[in-house]
Symmetry: C3
Subunit: 202 residues, 3 copies
């Protein structure tokens, strides 16, 4: 069940990454690479930082097969998938919540304190997108556009690590924590909420 959700999150992130590659006029290698980097990059960053190497994202063939399959799908059927972009954006909220919570709980299991664990949850959820944006020479969307993305991820990751510190089982805490991220993110999409900007210099 958890694996299925995880692979679904990877699939959605990979499709989003592949569509960016098509828009940027990359070739087949670029589409597959961006799909894989977007889907697996955040988890690989987390695993390298906590010392879980070789990372499961490389060792388990399913974690590599899903983004490569998603990349091929995008390569051949991107006009149809592009029309689903609004839907994909909503499912992406699910991936965001899932990755933030799973990443934070894994970091917690590796004896990181609550603050670093929550931050590694955010890295898991947004790291792949940051790598993808750097590769196609965009300033990463999460740093720039003001849209709330990293902050809902941090909220869910924070709930997860606080629950874990309080001794609750991962299975108990994961659902509500992911829900915090997902609901906040979906509301953000529908209401256009934004992150605070620095005051402009007067």
């Amino acid at each position: 069940m958890l694996l299925t959700l995880d692979l679904l999150g990877i699939f959605v992130f990979a499709v989003a990454g592949g569509l960016v590659a098509v828009r940027k006029e990359l070739d087949l290698v670029g589409v597959l690479a961006l799909a894989a980097v977007t889907a697996l990059g955040g988890g690989l960053m987390r695993d390298v930082l906590i010392g879980d190497v070789p990372p499961p994202g490389l060792e388990d063939w399913r974690y590599l097969s899903v983004p490569l399959g998603a990349g091929l799908l995008v390569f051949f059927f991107h006009p149809a998938l592009g029309r689903l972009e609004r839907l994909i954006r909503q499912i992406d909220a699910g991936g965001l919540g899932l990755f933030a919570v799973a990443g934070a709980l894994k970091a917690s299991d590796y004896d990181l304190g609550p603050m670093p664990a929550a931050i590694l949850g955010v890295v898991t959820a947004v790291g792949g997108g940051v790598l993808r944006d750097v590769l196609v020479r965009d300033v990463p969307a999460i740093l720039r556009r003001g849209e709330l993305y990293a902050i809902p991820a941090l909220a869910g990751a924070g709930v997860a690590v606080v629950g874990a510190e309080a001794g609750l089982a991962d299975a108990v805490v994961a659902g509500p924590a992911a829900a915090v991220t997902i609901i906040w993110r979906l509301l953000t999409i529908h209401r256009g909420w934004t992150a605070p900007m620095p005051r402009t210099r007067d």
Copy 2:
């Protein structure tokens, strides 16, 4: 013998990286850094991901001296080396084959399965060039230009891991596997073969 080939591959990659730095009007630090990153970056990525740290590319002084020496050569003699760019491009095919096969076999030794090992071979071969392009703010050539580069690397890495899985000694499988990459890449250069592009939206 293998070490000599390895250092030759590093030298050629370093020269190519240094020439990019000169074209981008970087200073001495930029030329040396781009030479080292291009030559060693892919191997460092692989070693960090499989957990071989500190990586041999840092521990063994020869792996650091060759790219820094190559960078100095480029710094002082780049007009002459620039005229050899066609030749360098062909020797680069040798480095590509060597790095892809050596990287895949090393990943295989670290108990990664055939698919992840082959992909880490490609990362070894192209990772340094990707880092170099990101540092000088280009979209990485291998994702974009349609020229076949990563795919021949994957083919050679794939042959190597299939041979290793079949129980053949590394010394037996390395030569033919590298030849697959090198010949395919040289043919690509001479015939202008390209990677498939996504259909443009109708």
Copy 3:
């Protein structure tokens, strides 16, 4: 005492990173992320490469709190801090010397030879700034602008590892080594010294 100096260096690097984020019109997440990446990125690179994971920069809450606090300061008070930019540039020289020497000595403790240890000292000192520049889509300043920055860092790191190889205690060698970097860097700022550029093609 050493910890205080270390945290001061992190604070100054974080303020510099946050000010770049404000200039690039990033949002709150961007300001905090760039402050943290600039201050901690070089140390994280070093720790991942030598195998000290999870890195102290993540495990110790003080190393995360200082850059996030500095980022918040910049977010709210950037007009005032922006006016202090000349002062910050001079304190930054202190961070450069401290990070280069501490990074080189730590790498030395992990049994790296003198050349790799000195280079990891430079990576510690400049790595965070390179990541920051890549994230906001600038060619990293240290590769480009000709101003002496990495070379003074290398000089201090080199003095530190030579001293350590000669059997001197870290506490003895750290001060003079950092002074080499700091004085050279301050002189560079005041006199406008530049790194050598490649000859332009005739």
